[in-house]
């Protein structure tokens, strides 16, 4: 099953089971079925629950907030995650705050689903991974299903979560098959403290890994090839792939890091001020003296993502960058 099919199925099950689930966004009318076709068929089959909307990201986010306050479970699609900038006020100053401001007397179970990432040449304003801009907002959760989990089930968990959830779907993963196994690798699925799944992928059978690789979302498409390549070089790698990326399932990350003492964090967002920076800070807080090398981060060059293929490739991180970082921590 592909990532996209899994998401579609997950939404369908939610719409069937729960009348309070309302899915809305731009261009969802069937047969078009959404810009990336994630909701295809759903508007036709659930016309009361699946709405196509005007192009008003800001108001739509506010409307999701209002719906959630009155007992619905809105699932809002923002066509490209780059457009989340238009939603920022309603997320930051409304959705993320109502519960605490009003002293825990309300919940805001909104889910915003949005395609993220580059690699398709869509250019600077349609290729970004800007989730780091939202990571500092308390009370919201950020979820990014990988290839190693059932994306549709992760979406279900996010929609049923009573918190405001930002759900990130990487564009390049849509057409890829979900992975539960791969040649020469062991894949183990665990649940983190908040019930979201995480995958532990190993390219070795026994003993301790040399390096722990922590990554999420679109970058997980490199995990299999990197681990296989590293196995050829006798380098034992434990890849820890969470789906809930904010708040950090830190117990899980720490114990994975502790097994090797060498950590590489890979994200597609810009290298600086990102997810990796927070992980590195917490790693040195809790594992100082047990780490054998400084934590290395992999990320995009902090610059506009160009449209031309060769330029885009030079800016976005790839498997070679992960391998380089792994070798760096081993020195």
């Amino acid at each position: 099953m592909t990532y996209l099919e899994s998401l579609n199925l997950g939404l369908r099950e939610l719409l069937e089971e729960l009348p309070q689930v309302v899915v809305f966004g731009e261009d969802l009318l069937d047969p078009y079925g959404g810009a990336f076709k994630v909701t295809r068929g759903l508007q036709r089959d659930f016309p009361k629950q699946v709405l196509t909307t005007p192009i008003s990201e800001a108001a739509l986010t506010g409307i999701a907030n209002g719906m959630a306050l009155r007992g619905l479970r809105p699932v809002l699609e923002i066509m490209f995650s780059d457009f989340l900038a238009l939603c920022m006020d309603q997320i930051l100053n409304h959705g993320a705050k109502f519960r605490t401001m009003y002293n825990n007397t309300v919940t805001v179970p909104v889910t915003i689903r949005t395609p993220v990432g580059g690699g398709r040449g869509y250019g600077p304003t349609h290729s970004q991974c800007i989730e780091k801009l939202f990571m500092g907002i308390p009370e919201i959760r950020i979820v990014a299903p990988s290839l190693f989990c059932d994306a549709g089930q992760v979406l279900r968990h996010a929609v049923l979560d009573d918190k405001f959830v930002l759900f990130l779907e990487h564009k390049l993963l849509y057409t890829l098959d979900l992975l539960s196994a791969a040649t020469g690798l062991g894949v183990e699925t665990v649940k983190d403290e908040l019930g979201y799944p995480a995958a532990l992928v190993r390219n070795y059978d026994s003993g301790y890994p040399d390096v722990t690789l922590i990554t999420y979302g679109g970058m997980t498409r490199f995990v299999v090839s990197v681990l296989q390549r590293m196995a050829e070089e006798e380098i034992k790698v434990l890849a820890c792939v969470p789906t809930l990326i904010k708040p950090l399932p830190f117990d899980l990350l720490r114990s994975a890091a502790d097994r090797s003492g060498r950590v590489v964090v890979a994200e597609e967002g810009g290298l600086h001020w990102g997810w990796g920076a927070e992980i590195a800070a917490r790693m040195q807080e809790s594992l100082f003296g047990r780490l054998r090398a400084a934590v290395r981060r992999v990320g995009a060059v902090d610059i506009v993502i160009p449209a031309a293929r060769t330029l885009e490739r030079a800016v976005l991180p790839a498997d070679t960058d992960i391998e380089k970082a792994i070798l760096e921590v081993l020195k």
Partner: protein
């Protein structure tokens, strides 16, 4: 030299290492054909430079090595006698793990390629085996110097010491260490080649002076101590060298020695049993105190002095640097002993000693046979 029926042979082994000196006629490699094993002799005197590593099937006429004028010369690899281009490079695949292990051990990859037999890719296990064979007397496990316990507790573990000098001074130091809880010796270095690979009271001798930095980089010790008491120049030289490469030095203080209030010590000092370092004294760096030396209150000692057993100071004595004391010496209060002096055994000092002096005591005794 190969028989007329064969167009290739197996280069089994090089019997002398790359870059070593071979005399004309000396056997430097062994070649095996289907019929026989043949010794390859050096055609001339020179330093061997290997092109093709052991274990390779070589074609007749292939140039397998060269003899050079200098050990580190890298000659151009010529075409074979019969015009065959040897593009069988010495480059076998080396796993990254193996590369890292080799780098950590300071091994040259080129040599590895040549000297490790086999045609398959070179793995980490190959490197470890190679190092055990050629390297230090102690097997360095993956990562070099990694300890399953110590590495995780850098602040709480015993201070691990390198003892410089594997002679009688080391025995004294190691003996004291038996009773010191917070320190232990993990390695010894000594320039006597025969000692390398042996152990002294269980502590391995891993090389000469040149090994010090390597061992430190392998995280085998936290600080160094010079155990040699016979040469002040050596003690000072070692101190300089260690400072230059930022290797810390430790003090060894036998538990039976007493270091009193407000005493100030430098680093690199060895203070053996029953010494008394009085209150408000100041000791510099790199001094060696045999047992029963009394540094009375308010005395000061400079750097790199050595004391035989039973040197007794009185209060307020100032001792300079690099002063060598024999045994059984007494010093009256408030005296100054200048740097770079030698004080002979049995002296009782009652006046200041200028720099660079030799003090010799005439002791009257006669020796006769017991019969």
């Amino acid at each position: 030299m190969v028989n007329a029926n064969e167009d290739s042979a197996l280069l089994c082994a090089w019997t002398k290492p790359d870059q070593s000196l071979a005399s004309k006629g000396e056997i430097i490699a062994v070649i095996e054909t289907s019929k026989a094993t043949i010794d390859l002799e050096a055609e001339d005197t020179g330093y061997i430079h290997i092109f093709v590593h052991a274990g390779t099937q070589v074609m007749v006429g292939e140039i397998v090595g060269a003899l050079c004028d200098k050990p580190d010369e890298v000659p151009e690899r010529p075409l074979s006698k019969y015009g065959l281009q040897n593009d069988r490079s010495v480059e076998r695949k080396v796993t990254k793990k193996a590369e890292l292990a080799a780098a950590k051990a300071g091994l040259d990859m080129k040599r590895i390629q040549i000297e490790i037999p086999g045609a398959e890719s070179i793995t980490e296990a190959d490197i470890i085996a190679y190092m055990e064979q050629h390297g230090a007397g102690q097997s360095i496990a993956e990562g070099g110097g990694c300890d399953l316990v110590d590495d995780s507790y850098p602040r709480n573990r015993q201070q691990r010491l390198l003892i410089i000098g594997g002679g009688l001074g080391a025995v004294q130091v190691l003996d004291s260490l038996c009773r010191i809880e917070h320190q232990r010796a993990t390695a010894i270095v000594d320039d006597t080649p025969d000692l390398v690979g042996k152990t002294l009271m269980g502590v391995p001798i891993l090389g000469g002076q040149e090994a010090i930095e390597v061992l430190f980089k392998k995280n085998l010790f936290d600080a160094a101590v010079v155990s040699v008491s016979t040469s002040i120049a050596f003690r000072q030289r070692m101190d300089n060298m260690l400072r230059q490469v930022n290797i810390p030095m430790a003090n060894i203080i036998d538990p039976s020695a007493r270091v009193q209030r407000n005493a100030v010590l430098g680093v690199g000092n060895v203070i053996l049993a029953y010494c008394h370092i009085g209150a408000c004294t100041s000791i510099g760096n790199g001094n060696f105190f045999s047992p029963y030396v009394d540094v009375e209150h308010h005395c000061s000692v400079g750097d790199f002095c050595t004391f035989g057993p039973g040197v007794m100071m009185s209060s307020l004595v100032k001792i300079g640097a690099r002063v060598k004391f024999g045994t059984g010496i007494f010093i009256e209060p408030k005296l100054v002993v200048g740097s770079d002096s030698i004080i002979g055994s049995g002296a009782i000092l009652t006046s200041d000693i200028p720099h660079n002096s030799i003090v010799k005591t005439k002791i009257n005794y006669s020796i006769r046979s017991r019969d």
